[in-house]
Symmetry: C2
Subunit: 302 residues, 2 copies
């Protein structure tokens, strides 16, 4: 089994959805990713938290076997995001972003993290993503996520790091913004022309469209969930499921592995959205994920 | 093989999309449905056209073996719709609706149409849908489509006809409006509670979600088409593919048949959107549809 390094945010989120609200609940891309991936493989987290970051939130990761020795606690407060969802809940409305200690995040990998085989660069500034990547000795498989902000203000850095990764995970709106394409189907091949062999376009309640240079499209819907409580973290949980599954395989990574990994990502995302924050994700077991995968396969079986 | 009766609009459409425009090009739900369904089964059309309706447009249907003896030509002009699509093209903006002869459409079935086994009530006023249904002696399988307008202004009539059909085909926004649900997944079971055994929620570029009382969900994405020229008629082509395939089977209609029918509907819709008006649909052959189905199955194969 290989180790996965994830670098991203650890946050407290205040979220309003039609189902209710959560105040200063645990969030951040690195938390969602690590909790999902750790069901399958060893995960190492690098990130920064403030003095208010609670012991129980370290313990949540530790209890799932995540190596948290790359988390740095510095003076100040933890990153805080406030957002709300309404209607179809496909997009969050950001009400407040308090970067706090995240503003001066400068990722330094612990020496023993530098041999990680799998690397996931969650949505942070592309120059920091590059800096992380330079510290990893010889990664086997690297993926990244990004957001509109970096496409708009740091596109050159972003294109540089995109050219160095194996897989881009990105949502539909970002894929269109990055490429100028009018839909996900025309955007996907353009993204692989930037370097990566594989792109996964995340489509929220509609699932995903994966495209590989080698074998073209693989497209499937989301798991049908009648009551979506809080969609925050669905994309990072998906990524965690993908990387966790890939890291649990041996030998070369094939498109067939990536397809199975996308199914796992779909399952993890479907658990995350059933409760606020990381609540559902932190409790789910691999057996429950596999049981749901069986149900999912019947739904898409033709 | 069984006969399919379709009642709906025959129209001339003026359409603007990012790919260009078409002026007074052939359209209407009955035309799209009939051209698609006629690849698989005998189709009978009931509708009304104006004095401007061209002989070549009758011939288009006749050449595919469609029985057009239920089309009535009356004084006045054919229904004319003007619309435009922009951005992701998931929704048309209606610029003008000239009902013309369609305003006083009063569907009377020719005597020899009354024994039709399959009936598709395309999007017309629900009281007319009821009137059609009352004229069919003992249909084996009936489906309907509708639109926001009827949900808003003729909901009682609509619920009455919905309670009498086997299948509702409806788009996602309409499904939410009809049920008050916030997403397609919670809307679908509520629609079957109104009477039909099966509902198919059409999701445009994201495909469809079929739900049956018996077996729950069957959900798949659309065929990936990089350049969507004109999405008009995609939903009616989908319905035509579904009904055509079902009518080409013998014996009882099973959920397995309906699943295969949804795949055919997906293929027909994907051809329609590749050109303006009915151009691509009118030219496609069953062999081409089946070839594309083979490609599609690889895209969703896990």
């Amino acid at each position: 089994m290989s180790e996965i390094l994830v670098v991203g945010s650890l946050a407290y989120d205040s979220i309003q959805t039609p189902s209710g609200r959560a105040d200063r609940a645990l969030g951040g891309s690195a938390n969602y990713f690590a909790l999902a991936a750790a069901l399958f493989a060893k995960v190492r987290v690098v990130g920064v938290v403030g003095e208010d970051y609670e012991q129980r939130d370290y313990d949540l990761l530790k209890n799932r076997g995540v190596d948290v020795s790359g988390l740095t606690k510095v003076p100040g407060k933890t990153f805080h995001w406030e957002g709300s969802y309404a209607g179809d809940m496909n997009e969050a409305k950001t009400l407040k972003t308090e970067l706090n200690v995240f503003e001066h995040f400068n990722p330094e990998l612990p020496e023993n993290f530098k041999n990680s085989s799998f690397v996931f660069l969650a949505n942070i500034s592309p120059d920091l993503q590059l800096k992380v990547l330079e510290q990893v000795k010889s990664p086997k498989f690297v993926g990244l996520d990004t957001m509109n902000l970096w496409i708009n203000i740091k596109k050159d850095d972003l294109l540089k790091v995109v050219s160095k990764v194996n897989m881009v995970l990105i949502n539909e709106g970002e894929a269109k913004l990055l490429t100028g394409a009018s839909n996900a189907i025309s955007a996907a091949p353009l993204i692989t022309e930037l370097g990566p062999e594989v792109v996964i376009i995340k489509r929220g309640e509609y699932g995903f469209a994966m495209y590989s240079k080698k074998e073209g499209f693989f497209i499937l819907p989301a798991m049908p969930i009648p009551q979506v409580v809080d969609p925050t973290g669905a994309g990072d949980s998906f990524a965690g499921g993908v990387f966790g599954f890939l890291a649990s395989r041996t030998g070369e990574i094939t498109i067939s592995h990536i397809k199975q990994a996308c199914l796992m990502g779909t399952m993890l995302a479907s658990h995350t959205i059933q409760d606020f924050s990381v609540k559902a994700l932190a409790q789910v077991t691999l057996a429950e994920v596999e049981k749901r995968l069986g149900e999912y396969k019947k739904i898409i079986l033709h």
